[in-house]
């Protein structure tokens, strides 16, 4: 009785009903619409997004923003190299990425104020500063909320698993949750969990199972009513359509890629995950999140970088080349992000500590102008110097490429309208 109908439900009822609207109701609807900031979500330049997240806080000094002329305690133990953009240098371990620099936008002025892992991570997955009162939805879940599925594939996929709670649905309904592979594509004999019929179950047998299942469900479904029951129903239908679509299933099958290309990406976690992400986007997924490595390098940054960065470099460069050769780079947005950068000065244990004040992120393809460095940090890479890029503006620019105006409001519990990103501006200079 006291079930409170949300304003959205109210609008749907009003419009679906069509009749019986009093003048007052009509005004009310007009008012409600005018009140909720709404923009039409369209197909943008980026048909899909590959979101590469490097957990732990990747040092910008050893990667995309080296300071070769800074004193050694700032410069760090690694050298820098030239890239395909004249005058722009990367860390020495990014030798493959240096060759595709002309296809990507290097943002060297990313900035926020959260130096704790979970708070910084929240920023980069949701576009919001953490709030004690509300959990915000991740970009992937917002996109699931805004678009229909394509080619029987889930809109939002996480490789191998949902990396943290902030990559989830936040205040949105659980039906917008990511589909997690549940297995790592780099593993031998990798298969996405539960996508194929179990051993010994033929198609014929599966059909029989399905008809028995319907017979059993029939008794219950005719007797009971509930939203949760309907949701289970929806997910079983989606599961059946995914299982029965060979194309959809094959999108998860890395074996279908030629061995040569797999070698180009590298057979480790970075290569396998990025290649699978490309496969999924090509097949119709809209937002694929993957993580690689652990970048919280408080000690011995040179050694850790030498271990972790080369596989990333190989895979990332291969991904950009591959997308470009397939003509997919213009419609696929590739983001590289981390929760923050690291301190300017090398610490006592030869590492660097947390530093959110300035760090680097990469955007490429999907409507982003490649071959540019956006913004800059100061001479010691400790403060933004030009065009400080805020989390809100960064997120709004990504949403813009996808086709979503991030000023649009979604309804949080208690009928609270919340902007997808609060006060974000699209950085036009980043766009192609």
């Amino acid at each position: 009785m006291a079930n409170r109908r949300s304003r959205r439900d109210f609008l749907q009822v009003g419009f679906a009903g069509g009749i019986g609207l009093s003048l007052a109701d009509f005004f009310r609807i007009k008012e409600a619409q005018a009140d909720l900031k709404d923009y039409k979500t369209v197909e943008g330049t980026a048909k899909s997004v590959i979101f590469i997240y490097l957990p732990g806080g990747m040092a910008h000094q050893e990667t995309f923003d080296p300071k070769p002329y800074a004193p050694v305690e700032y410069r760090g133990p690694l050298n820098s190299i030239e890239t395909s953009i004249p005058g722009v240098r990367f860390g020495e371990l990014l030798k493959n990425t240096a060759k595709v620099a002309d296809k990507i936008a290097i943002c060297r002025s990313m900035t926020h104020g959260e130096a704790a892992h979970e708070r910084g991570t929240h920023n980069m997955f949701t576009g919001y500063r953490p709030s004690p009162a509300l959990l915000f939805p991740s970009m992937g879940s917002v996109i699931t909320h805004e678009y229909e599925p394509r080619n029987n594939l889930p809109q939002y996929v996480c490789i191998p698993n949902q990396p943290n709670v902030f990559a989830g649905t936040g205040y949105l309904s659980s039906s917008f949750a990511p589909f997690s592979l549940g297995a790592d594509p780099a593993q031998k004999g990798f298969k996405v969990r539960d996508l194929n019929l179990p051993n010994g179950v033929t198609n014929e047998r599966s059909t029989r199972r399905r008809s028995i299942l319907e017979a059993v469900n029939n008794h219950f479904v005719t007797k009971e009513k509930s939203d949760s029951l309907d949701a289970v129903d929806t997910f079983y239908k989606r599961a059946y359509s995914m299982i029965s679509s060979q194309k959809a299933r094959e999108a998860f099958d890395l074996e279908k890629e030629p061995a040569k290309l797999r070698d180009e990406y590298g057979r480790g976690t970075a290569g396998a995950r990025m290649l699978l992400a490309r496969r999924l986007c090509e097949a119709g997924a809209r937002f694929v999140t993957l993580t690689y490595g652990g970048w919280d390098m408080h000690d011995n940054i040179a050694g850790s970088m030498k271990r972790q960065l080369p596989p990333f470099d190989q895979a990332f460069a291969a991904l950009i080349r591959d997308l470009s050769q397939r003509g997919l780079l213009d419609s696929t947005l590739v983001c590289v992000a981390s929760e923050f950068g690291r301190t300017a000065k090398i610490n006592a244990t030869a590492g660097r500590d947390h530093w959110p004040k300035v760090f680097s992120v990469i955007l490429a393809g999907g409507g982003i102008k490649g071959g540019q460095v956006y913004g800059s940090s100061n001479s010691t890479a400790s403060e933004p110097e030009e065009d400080a890029l805020t989390v809100q503006d960064w997120a709004s620019t990504i949403y813009h490429c996808i086709g979503i105006n991030s000023d649009k409001e979604l309804l949080a519990p208690g009928d609270r309208p919340i902007e997808i990103v609060k006060g974000g501006k699209v950085r036009k200079e980043l766009l192609a």
């Binding site: 009785m1 008012e31 199972r209 028995i212 059993v216």
Partner: protein, 814 residues
């Protein structure tokens, strides 16, 4: 926020379009009593006034605002002037007002004092009230952390001193014009004479305009000396039952001040409804009924939020109260509420449904075939009660509650803080207490006041979840009082009574926790440092520890936490027993009487406060033995209702008039599948064949458990346990290695076939095992081919087993 503003506009529109006619009460309604609010009138100083309302209650329970129909007379009209149901002071003295309606009479005493005196205008009492009323300091307007259009006010007015500075000193002379007060920007922005993003907020000459202008004319005084504070706010009438749509009821708000005066603050209160589908309320405080349902109407004034409960019924609804048996007090309170709503509860569920439900809820098990037959064949009329008693004595009942407590106490390993060994000790500490039926108050007191090594006194691990003082305080409030006080870290809670003073005062109990390394590198020691303070973020003053919503205790020479523990888990803290009862209730109904259970606040009222009060009272009387409370709940008729709804209760989701479907939680689901396939599981740290509910560590999980929403215990939020469905769950049950492999490994069907059991009997056994019922004739009919199959008999029966474990009926407790 925005919605309420929208409501104001809507009401304005509705008033324009419709001529609102208050439907007359049917002649058949018999008057029972009339009531006036307020019951006594105090008028002090020249500008004071007091409006009143009169409410009639009819025998049917329906109420009506009869203020305009009452015969009113004031005994001594030289003392007070009556105009539009409002009394104004004229001369000092005492008199009475007489009210009469259909032969019922009431008398209201009136006191007038200082009738000629002018009360000075106050920034805190008057100007801040206008900001609140008009929403100027809300988060969407100037209360935003960065302000709005260059002007920032403290959100919900938590910092009046800074607001005063901002208005009078910032951008000097811009906002106030002392030479021509009416032309101050703060007036012109609001009266519509210059552009204002927030629109026109008041008109020239209205009450709000006059308050602001008077303050400007007086030279924007900052209140000298002590300003009386609001001690209590009363919203009247406290409840009502409205007959049909478009019935109106005027509300009245009365504030009580620390200097003993009262003030009619109806026009300065901010009104809202928690269910505008059933009733809306205007900013003048007039409720208008809409669709059938319940609405909680709230008024906010100063830092106080108060509410009144209204029921809206269809006009002239025919209703005959059903004669229903009541098993115990729970049914009495539930039926009373349902009667108010004119809802007839569902029928009792069948024995099969009850059996499955009570097994899952009390013991986290599915009944075995023998248990099924034993119960079904038991002819005694009190067999349900007997079953509840049997289940309460099983060890599985204890295990369910150890698991639930382990979630609330966040038992898990934490990197660099809680080692595996500490975690195990912590879990064992909890388990022995629940097993031995230790009263919950004693257990919580031990926990909160704990000191010593995380091995030696494992309860101390509670303080090793994190070292943040504020977070610890927030967690304690959320787990043991059901309250989320986080909002008050940065501003006074807008929908509750908690202020920043309450927040930091409560946090101060946890500011002296000391932590050091133990001898064993895996052990930490928690001790009382005896020093360390919490400072308020506005003004940075040191806070004295103060119980949430209660007194400042004497801490002399004592550990702050020990003092807190004695109050927290005791009848002196009214929220403790209430919160526990609500948690227990929610386990059995899927929803709390206050829902969510850890979101207790004024603006989220209990759907049945009388019942919740009684449950907490009983729990206290049972000496906090919650097993007794479980018995009351499970033997009540209310718990045993069917999910099948009737016309009167099909839209009820909150009042427990029927049972609701609840997806079985992850651990119980896995244990169920394991038991009926006759297989075993191995979890980290537990012997082969252990059940998932026995897992001690929040960080120990399996793909199945994680996918079906097992809590990681990273936060205290009740929301961590998820029973929401998702795509991976469907795929996992269909194709995954749990259902398929377990059917194969358990060899149940192969064994039965070998034993010569007939397919029909096996079929029936599978149904009883998975669904606790026999197959219907129709189901037997549709599967006749499978049962009569000459080939692949085993495979086909295994497919039936697969389908049963994938069925909706299996997934849900119903």
């Amino acid at each position: 926020m925005r919605l309420e503003k929208l409501m104001i506009k809507c009401i304005a529109i509705i008033l324009l379009v419709h001529t609102v006619n208050v439907p007359a009460i049917a002649a058949t309604q018999v008057l029972e009593r009339i009531e006036v609010y307020p019951k006594a009138v105090q008028l002090k100083t020249k500008r004071d006034r007091q409006s009143f309302i009169v409410q009639a209650t009819f025998k049917s329970g329906i109420t009506q605002d009869i203020t305009k129909d009452v015969k009113v007379s004031v005994v001594d009209s030289k003392l007070t002037r009556l105009d539009n149901f409002t009394l104004y002071p004229v001369a000092d003295g005492k008199t009475e007002m007489h009210l009469e309606y259909q032969g019922k009479k009431l008398t209201v005493p009136i006191t007038v004092a200082e009738a000629g005196a002018e009360k000075p205008i106050s920034f805190k009492m008057d100007i801040m009230s206008v900001f609140m009323k008009k929403g100027c300091n809300m988060g969407s307007c100037h209360g935003a952390s960065s302000g709005k259009d260059g002007f920032r006010l403290s959100i919900f007015g938590f910092d009046p001193d800074t607001d005063y500075q901002t208005i009078t000193r910032q951008l000097s002379t811009r906002r106030v014009n002392l030479a021509i007060p009416e032309e101050s920007l703060m007036v012109q922005k609001c009266d519509g004479s210059v552009a204002h993003t927030g629109g026109q907020q008041f008109k020239k000459g209205d009450e709000y305009y006059n308050i602001i202008v008077r303050w400007l004319q007086a030279g924007t005084p900052k209140d000298p000396g002590e300003v009386p504070t609001v001690t209590k706010v009363e919203l009247s009438p406290p409840n009502g039952v409205m007959d049909g749509e478009k019935v109106q009821q005027k509300m009245n708000v009365l504030a009580y001040y620390s200097d003993g005066t009262t003030r009619d603050v109806t026009s300065l209160s901010y009104f809202s409804s928690n269910n505008d589908n059933s009733a809306i309320v205007s900013q003048e405080g007039v409720i208008e009924s809409k669709n059938r349902g319940e609405a909680f109407i709230m008024a906010r004034f100063d830092i106080h939020t108060v509410g009144s409960h209204f029921v809206i019924l269809p006009k002239d609804l025919k209703y005959t109260e059903p004669k229903l048996p009541e098993n115990n007090y729970i049914d009495t309170f539930i039926h009373a509420k349902l009667k108010k709503l004119r809802i007839i509860p569902s029928e009792l569920c069948t024995d099969e449904e009850f059996l499955r439900r009570v097994y899952l809820d009390i013991a986290g098990l599915l009944p075995t075939v023998e248990e099924y037959h034993q119960f079904m064949n038991d002819p005694t009329p009190d067999k349900r009660e007997k079953l509840v008693d049997d289940l309460l004595n099983r060890k599985e009942f204890v295990e369910i509650w150890v698991m639930k407590w382990a979630e609330l106490l966040q038992i898990r390993t934490v990197a660099n803080r809680v080692t595996y060994k500490s975690m195990t000790r912590y879990y064992n500490w909890l388990r022995t207490r629940v097993e031995n039926n230790m009263p919950i108050d004693k257990m919580v007191q031990e926990l909160i006041s704990s000191q010593g090594g995380t091995f030696a006194n494992a309860a101390t691990n509670y303080y090793e979840n994190g070292a943040d003082t504020l977070k610890t305080a927030e967690n304690v409030a959320q787990v043991f009082m059901g309250m989320r006080i986080q909002c008050a870290q940065c501003h006074n809670h807008p929908f509750d009574k908690w202020t920043m003073d309450d927040y930091y005062g409560f946090a101060a109990f946890f500011s002296q926790i000391g932590r050091k390394q133990g001898e064993d590198p895996r052990e930490k020691i928690i001790y009382n440092k005896g020093s360390g303070e919490v400072r308020h973020i506005v003004g940075k003053h040191v806070m004295t520890p103060k119980f949430l919503g209660a007194e400042v205790p004497d801490l002399k020479g004592r550990d702050r936490r020990a003092v807190l523990a004695e109050w927290l888990a005791s009848p002196k803290n009214p929220y403790f027993a209430q919160n526990l009862s609500n948690i227990v209730w929610a386990h059995f109904f899927g929803k709390g009487i206050i829902n969510d259970v850890d979101d207790v606040r004024v603006s989220n009222p209990a759907v049945n406060p009388e019942l919740l009060h009684e449950l907490s009272k009983r729990l206290t009387e049972y000496n906090y033995d919650f097993k007794k409370l479980v018995r009351d709940i499970c033997t009540s008729r209310t718990y045993q209702l069917s999910t099948k709804m009737n016309k009167t209760n099909e839209s009820d989701t909150r009042n427990f008039s029927h049972a609701t479907l609840r997806r079985v939680r992850s651990e119980v689901l896995l244990d169920g599948i394991t038991a009926i396939t006759q297989t075993r599981n191995k979890f980290q740290g537990l012997p082969l064949g252990s059940r998932a509910v026995q897992i001690a560590n929040g960080n120990t999980s399996t793909y199945f458990l994680t996918t079906f929403g097992r809590a990681k215990r990273e936060t205290v939020c009740a929301c961590e346990v998820s029973i929401e469905p998702n795509l991976s769950q469907a795929l996992h049950l269909m194709n995954g290695d749990i259902v398929n492999k377990k059917i194969k490994d358990g060899k149940l069907i192969a064994t039965r076939l070998k034993e010569g059991v007939s397919p029909v009997e096996i079929f029936e056994e599978l149904y009883i095992l998975s669904l606790s019922r026999r197959p219907t004739a129709k189901e037997l009919g549709t599967m006749i081919d499978i049962l009569a199959a000459k080939e692949k008999q085993q495979e086909q029966l295994e497919d039936v087993f697969w389908a049963l474990l994938n069925s909706r009926e299996f997934l849900f407790n119903h």
